[in-house]
């Protein structure tokens, strides 16, 4: 009986054009718009890393600095792009913003000339400051304790290698990812529509269809379980289709932790359906009204998790952190984010636990409402 009802529910949901649009196509469309909107920004960040700079030697030798520049312009992802030229040409390049700064080898040492103030210019200044400090230290050691120079240089190299970058995941650390995580949360929580339908289909005082089902000889709990399961499975599939589309077609970097992403989407779909089921179980309002209410509630959850304003999650965390602990959208976003930034899964599982408990509470509360044995009026 369960599987038959499950089968027919899936069929019904697949043919429900509104449901297919909002739960499957809308997240895909919105995701595509996000990629289009953020694509340029992401690209800018990449080019931002390689800074164009001019180096004017003034016919003077500074082997140390020249070697540093060589190091920084080498590799697949160089920090600097260096053009060696005379002062006149360098000024022209700076004027035309072809370069962001000029290193000049003067009598007093290396000097930096920039035209504007910004992050790029700060990077150039940091490079120069670091060089000056190292140069001064080496000069001092050479003067005071030349026999230890080799050890110090070796120690510096070790220190550098000690703080090398360790990647826990291949996920993008891009701030824009929060939007995509909020989008996944929204898609999961759109399971509320199917949840409302599940509840309304069991309330004989709301629809004749529910009345017909209520007077049948099928156990109400079995029918409800089939309804809810099919709704969760369906929503899980819809969201996963959207995720896979974004990952493989739009090349959004969701990282290499797909099994965990599957868990988030499954629990997210469950809480989405549970929320809708609870809302649908309240009162005698029509299905459309309840869906409207569920949509408003879901969009509020998504707003607070950062779907519309990227750093909203952090603002809420500062103002009212408990809200982030009970907002399913925020929990989904945080769980996905935690996969990118933490090596262990404590925070991830904690979020999943909270979502699981919230879902069960909503389902039980909804069930206690719709299981009503007899109605006072129909």
């Amino acid at each position: 009986m369960f599987f038959r009802l499950f089968y027919y529910n899936v069929r019904r949901q697949l043919r429900d054009r509104e449901l297919v649009f909002w739960n499957l196509l809308f997240p895909i469309i919105l995701g595509t718009l996000f990629v289009t909107a953020f694509g340029n920004y992401m690209q800018k960040e990449e080019t931002f890393l390689t800074v164009d700079v001019a180096y004017v030697t003034e016919d003077k030798e500074n082997t140390g600095f020249a070697e540093l520049l060589d190091t920084l312009k080498d590799g697949e992802d160089p920090l600097l792009s260096v053009k060696v030229c005379d002062m006149e040409e360098a000024k022209l390049l700076l004027e035309e913003k072809e370069v962001r700064g000029i290193f000049v080898n003067e009598e007093e040492g290396i000097r930096l000339y920039v035209k504007e103030e910004g992050i790029t210019e700060s990077i150039l200044k940091t490079i120069l400051d670091q060089y000056r400090k190292t140069e001064a230290m080496i000069t001092k050691i050479m003067q005071q304790n030349p026999q230890k120079l080799e050890t110090v240089i070796a120690g510096m190299s070790e220190q550098i290698s000690f703080v090398r970058e360790e990647k826990y995941t291949d996920a993008s650390m891009d701030g824009m990812m929060e939007y995509f995580y909020a989008l996944i949360a929204m898609s999961c929580l759109y399971g509320c529509f199917a949840g409302v339908v599940c509840a309304v289909s069991s309330k004989a005082d709301v629809t004749p269809l529910a009345a017909r089902r209520s007077i049948a000889s099928t156990n109400r709990f079995v029918a409800l379980a089939a309804d809810l399961t099919s709704a969760v499975v369906q929503q899980f599939c819809y969201t996963m289709i959207a995720v896979l589309y974004l990952k493989y077609i739009q090349k959004v970097q969701f990282g290499d932790k797909m099994p965990y992403l599957l868990i988030v989407v499954a629990v997210g779909a469950f809480i989405g359906v549970a929320t809708g089921f609870f809302i649908g179980s309240l009162g005698k309002a029509k299905e459309g009204t309840k869906i409207g209410l569920a949509l408003s509630f879901t969009m509020l959850e998504c707003f607070l998790s950062g779907l519309m304003v990227g750093n909203m999650y952090h603002i809420i965390q500062r103002i009212c952190p408990i809200l982030n602990k009970i907002n399913p959208a925020a929990l989904i976003v945080d769980a996905l984010y935690s996969l990118d930034i933490y090596s262990d899964f404590r925070r991830f599982w904690s979020n999943m636990e909270i979502m699981g408990i919230l879902s069960l509470l909503l389902i039980v509360a909804g069930f206690l409402t719709v299981r009503k044995e007899r109605y006072a009026s129909l």
Binding site: M1, R4, L5, Y8, R11, R12, Q13, R15, D16, A204, T207, P208, L209, A211, R212, R213, S214, I215, A216, S217, T218, N219, R220, A223, E373, R374, Y375, A376, S377, L378
Partner: protein, 313 residues
């Protein structure tokens, strides 16, 4: 005497201040078509919903197949088929799928279910529409689908709550014939309607209810014998005076005569040649008249005489 399938005793149901069922007593026997007749809001649907354990009630008892029915009386429910007043089908499922879905709520055996579904489709004449979605069906066909969903599992007791509302005459006749066929196949039928002609046509026994009370019960003939009128005569008359109307009222076997909008309606109890006598009076008094027809009393007359109002008021 046949076994009672449904026994309603002293059923009282209140909606706040409104008394929807006022100590209603009904006994529906196995194998009969039992009509529940009453105007809109008389309590027919409320009574049905109490029988189906959908509605709570304040007092009394409802027994179906000899047992008090409860919401979880699944064994009893297996033998009940219901055609609700409002069409209750899934818009996203085809005609076949809808019938299969609802039949499947009662019948687990796949092969048996398939057979039942085919028979139900045949029964309501939707063979050509099995792949249609409900929104593509006309009102009449939709009602037929609604009926098929309610009876496909071959229940022993079928409750039809106003199944012909907003149905075209062709579909209505088909539905009424179908109900008689179901009864012939052994099903007990409870048929609620405010269309007296339908109830007269198919029901063996009829209960007339008004304001939640049963005001009369019996066969069609028994109910009609409860009232004085044996014959009703309608004559289109132009310019009948008050004096002439008073004269007509004094004619033998005439116990009531009304004249409104150029139509004279005369109620006679017993006697022979009433029509001849009345027409003779009109001719003698040079009253011009047109169309003349007579009819036997209807259930509406029964209702009118008992309650003082028309069934469709």
């Amino acid at each position: 005497m046949s076994q009672p399938v449904v026994v309603i005793e002293n059923l009282v149901k209140r909606y706040k201040e409104v008394l929807a069922l006022d100590h209603l007593n009904l006994r529906i026997n196995e194998g009969e078509i039992f009509g529940l007749l009453g105007p809109n809001g008389s309590g027919k649907t409320t009574a049905i919903n109490c029988v189906l354990a959908l509605l709570s009630f304040d007092k009394g008892s409802v027994k179906v197949f000899g047992e008090e029915i409860q919401p979880d009386s699944y064994e009893i429910k297996k033998n009940i088929g219901v055609v609700l007043q409002n069409v209750a089908v899934f818009e996203e499922l085809t005609v076949f799928e809808n019938i299969d879905y609802f039949c499947g709520l009662y019948v687990r055996d796949k092969r048996l279910r398939k057979q039942y579904v085919s028979e139900a489709i045949e029964f309501v004449g939707l063979n050509e529409y099995t792949k249609f979605y409900p929104k593509k069906l006309s009102g009449g066909l939709l009602r037929r689908l609604n009926i098929a969903c309610g009876i496909a599992h071959k229940p022993k007791l079928i409750i039809l709550d106003e199944p012909t509302v907003a149905v075209d005459p062709q579909s209505r006749n088909r539905i009424l014939e179908g109900i008689q066929n179901l009864n012939a196949q052994g099903a007990t039928i409870i048929y609620t309607s405010h269309y007296m002609e339908e109830v007269e046509q198919i029901c063996g026994r009829i209960a007339i209810i008004d304001k939640g009370r049963k005001i009369a019960e019996g066969t069609n003939e028994e109910l009609k014998k409860m009232i004085k009128a044996d014959e009703k005569i309608h004559i289109d008359v132009v310019g009948l005076s008050e004096g002439q109307l008073a004269d007509i009222r004094k004619l033998s076997h005439v116990y009531q005569a009304d004249y409104t909008e150029n139509r004279l309606t005369i109620y006679c109890n017993g006697g022979k040649h009433n029509l001849v006598r009345i027409l003779g009076y009109l001719q003698e008094n040079e009253v011009s008249f047109g169309r003349v027809y007579t009819e036997l009393p209807t259930l509406n007359d029964v209702f009118l005489e008992i309650t003082g109002k028309e069934l469709r008021d």
